[in-house]
């Protein structure tokens, strides 16, 4: 086996191991439960709200949209944070000092972050199915679409997370660089209410990013075709969804390795040392 193939295999194993560790970690369990409580709490409080002009209840509309947004959130913020942190704490430097270690490290990140969607969906969807009626209205075909949108969403957003994690100056800057932009984008992407209620130019901005299309794709999976009355053009716009998410995926997969490589080349022990001093200062 070539050293590179070996490194990728080792990296995939690394990702799986990190996933196992994460499932056993009270900190990460707490995060999943928190996300579930916030999401389900919001939907429960609005369980009787009907969307304007229709008889559709808000949770029916918002649950699939939120799942779509969570893919983007998890796969941009997740690797962004991990990478920013592991640049500082020397994990990446260790990878760099190992033959094909950075390749292995990235393989691990992909597996780890992709796997993270599974517990996130489970803690939200399983109680959600009991709390709200008629969430999934398309049966097995609907679940297949969920899987497809999830995979495409992963490809479209995970590279963004890697680029973000490579460029952000420090972990403390992740709020400004990652968290707030994603929250703002989520707010205008038709996740919690139909996008047409917003100004035209805001709709245009939202539609250039993957979050809107992830929400739309998820709604097309869960909701009946009659629900398209709430969408732009009264359609699920499936071809557009596939094209735009694919474009993001292609762009990301082209750019991310370069940005990551450039960042990795600059890693050195004294940089890690400096970050360590900085963090010590920050804590005080």
């Amino acid at each position: 086996m070539s050293p590179k193939t070996q490194a990728i295999r080792t990296g995939l194993g690394r990702g799986w191991h990190e996933f196992e560790l994460s499932l056993r970690s009270p900190q990460d369990q707490g995060f999943y439960i928190f996300m579930a409580l916030v999401t389900l709490g919001y939907l429960w409080l609005n369980r009787n709200n009907e969307l304007e002009g229709t008889s559709m209840l808000l949770p029916t509309f918002a649950m699939p949209s939120i799942l779509g947004a969570l893919i983007a959130f998890g796969l941009v913020i997740g690797p962004g944070y991990t990478l920013a942190m592991e640049r500082e704490d020397g994990t990446l430097l260790r990878a760099k000092s190992t033959p094909h270690g950075v390749t292995g490290y990235v393989s691990g990140q992909v597996v780890f972050n992709a796997m993270g969607i599974i517990p996130m969906f489970i803690v939200i969807l399983v109680p959600g199915m009991f709390l709200f009626d008629n969430l999934m209205q398309n049966g097995a075909a609907g679940w297949a679409t969920v899987a497809l949108v999830t995979v495409l969403g992963l490809l479209a957003t995970l590279p963004i997370g890697i680029i973000l994690g490579s460029l952000v100056p420090s972990v403390q800057k992740m709020g400004t660089w990652g968290f707030f932009p994603i929250m703002a984008l989520t707010a205008i992407s038709g996740i919690f209410f139909p996008i047409q209620t917003l100004w035209g130019w805001v709709q245009v901005v939202a539609q250039t990013f993957p979050i809107y299309w992830l929400g739309l794709g998820m709604r097309s999976a869960f909701l009946p075709d009659s629900a398209t009355v709430l969408e732009i053009g009264d359609s699920w716009r499936t071809p557009q969804t596939l094209i735009i998410l694919s474009l993001w995926a292609v762009a990301g997969l082209l750019i991310a390795p370069r940005v990551l490589g450039r960042m990795a080349r600059r890693q050195s022990g004294s940089q890690v040392e400096a970050a360590r001093h900085e963090a010590a200062q920050w804590v005080r």
Binding site: M1, S2, P3, K4, Q6, A7, R9, T10, G13, R14, H17, E18, L21, S22, S25, E86, D89, G90, T91, L93, R94, K96, S97, T98, P99, H100, G101, G104, Q267, S268, G269, S270, V272, E273, R276
Partner: protein, 311 residues
């Protein structure tokens, strides 16, 4: 085992490094032969870490020629990486992993590089025993003590059985026993595994114990290069003689202690008491040199150092 026939493991000539408008390295030259243990000494800010990071391929130099195991480290291949070990000062990475799982994981990257004469990687259990972490093997890394963590750093650095190992201040923060154990590991790597080792330290005693040869970096240059003995003889030739006559204490620095003591006895005979002759230690040599270069004077400061010491 120092092999003089093959090309050196490290060859550095006219290495220069400039950060902004500050010159950190102004033409560093040295060589390290295969199997040698070389210590790089120097005051804070002299450029030790910069030099090591350039050799490790983690930092781009401003100018000069550098060859490490036959390659330029800045664009060396991943295959080169497999032959070079780096001991990093870890902090909080892999906090949830255990020493055993981390070493096993990292060792897999080296499997394709195993050769007849150098089987790679180390067996994880053997490595854990070597650094004395068998009892902590299943503990979460974040629960390790500082010393245990540094021993894990050493294990990670050598997991691929490197031909060349870099250690930047490896024993900073070690207690004396941990230091002793670490020195045993270094001796073992050098003697049994034929590993070329380059380390930096602030501990002169450690440098004396470990190094075949010492390089002193001051003012961005190598100002001394030799064995501990050579440095002591060439730079601070004087030995220090202490004695007392009728309860009164005397100190004298002299290049020829034997002759001086003989004359002393001729003069005072049995009145001489508390006689003590001390060769310059590495510390004397080091301080003399560094002071000389930092003050920019080429004068014989060694004597001055002895006078200060005797006060």
């Amino acid at each position: 085992m120092v092999n003089v026939e093959t090309p050196p493991a490290i060859r550095v000539s006219d290495l220069r490094m400039r950060y902004g408008s500050v010159d950190v390295l102004n033409g560093v030259d040295f060589e390290v032969r295969h199997g040698e243990v070389v210590t790089l000494l120097g005051p804070n800010g002299a450029g030790k870490t910069t030099t090591i990071e350039i050799l490790e391929g983690f930092r781009e130099r401003s100018a000069g020629d550098v060859s490490v195991l036959g390659a330029d480290p800045i664009n060396a291949s991943e295959d080169w990486r497999a032959r070079v070990g780096v001991v990093l000062q870890s902090w909080r990475d892999h906090a949830r992993w255990t020493p055993r799982s981390l070493l096993t994981h990292l060792s897999r990257y080296y499997e394709p590089y195993s050769t007849e004469e150098r089987p790679r990687p180390y067996d994880t259990e053997q490595l854990l025993r070597m650094v004395g972490l068998e009892d902590q093997a299943e503990q979460k890394i974040r629960t390790l003590s500082g010393g245990e963590r540094r021993r894990l750093d050493v294990a990670v650095g050598i997991v691929g059985r490197p031909e060349l190992l870099f250690l930047d201040e490896p024993t900073a923060g070690f207690d004396p026993q941990a230091k002793r154990e670490f020195h045993d590991i270094v001796h073992r790597l050098a003697d049994l595994e034929d590993t070329t080792i380059m380390l930096t330290t602030h501990d002169l005693d450690e440098a004396e114990k470990l190094a075949d040869r010492i390089l002193i970096l001051a003012d961005g240059r190598i100002v001394a290069d030799g064995t501990v003995d050579q440095l002591a003889r060439e730079i601070t030739r004087d030995a220090q003689v202490r004695w007392s006559v009728n309860g009164e204490q005397f100190v004298h620095a002299t290049p020829d202690a034997t002759r001086f003591v003989r004359e002393l006895f001729t003069q005072h005979g049995d009145d001489i008491a508390d006689l003590e002759v001390r060769r310059a230690t590495l510390e004397d040599t080091y301080i003399a040199l560094v002071q000389e270069f930092e003050s920019g004077q080429g004068t014989d400061v060694a004597l001055q150092v002895f006078e200060e010491a005797s006060e």
